[in-house]
Subunit: 108 residues, 2 copies
Amino acid sequence: MEKVDKKFISKRIATLRNAKGISARAMSLDLGQSSEYINQIENGRSIPSIEGLINICDYFGITLSEFFDTNLLYPIQYKELIKELNKLDSLELQKIIDIIKLITQRHN
Amino acid sequence: MEKVDKKFISKRIATLRNAKGISARAMSLDLGQSSEYINQIENGRSIPSIEGLINICDYFGITLSEFFDTNLLYPIQYKELIKELNKLDSLELQKIIDIIKLITQRHN
DNA sequence: ATATTATACATATTTATACTATGTATTGCA
DNA sequence: TGCAATACATAGTATAAATATGTATAATAT
């Protein structure tokens, strides 16, 4: 997993903006910020605050998790399953994992 | 899309710390910060900087993407689980999902 | 050739807040 | 009783988030 640093953040935002096909000036107007600050961020001379990054992610229609997700963490089809698993406490979850391990043993 | 706000960040960190079974004081010493500041963050009176949050995520052994992923409340266990699930064929996977749904029914 | 548009960077300033320090209060526990 | 842990209030400092301005350059377009 790639380490998230200043460079990652700046490149990610520049990529998102270019993909949207919008100028830094237009983006800055939409966000109510100076275009120079957008420039500073995209060139790694400033790091936005978390609240600032939330606004930026909202602007691009992605979550913070997606912003920082370099790889695909888990297959999309497991999302509903994970939603169910969130209802379990950690002890129950561990039992589920143990059950599945019993099933998958023969697959090795 | 769930909104990530100050409250999410504070609760997430408190949950991670409690899961690790460590005091705010001990955590603050490990991170080289004041315990009062940890308290402020966990009670929503302060928001860490992105660099500060990177340190916190490193401390708990998770990525920023995992930190903000509302579907992954127990990232470590889920990673293990998904690794096992990938060994199953679709029929077996469906049976597992049915079992989990039976268990989670009473949680509603 | 020259406006215009977009990016880039330097420098300087303002403003906000991340983070610390200290004191007090409460709870649970040995 | 005393300690360990959390919680909050207040006040302060130091850092950096964010702005402002000016200059430079390259790419279009006029």
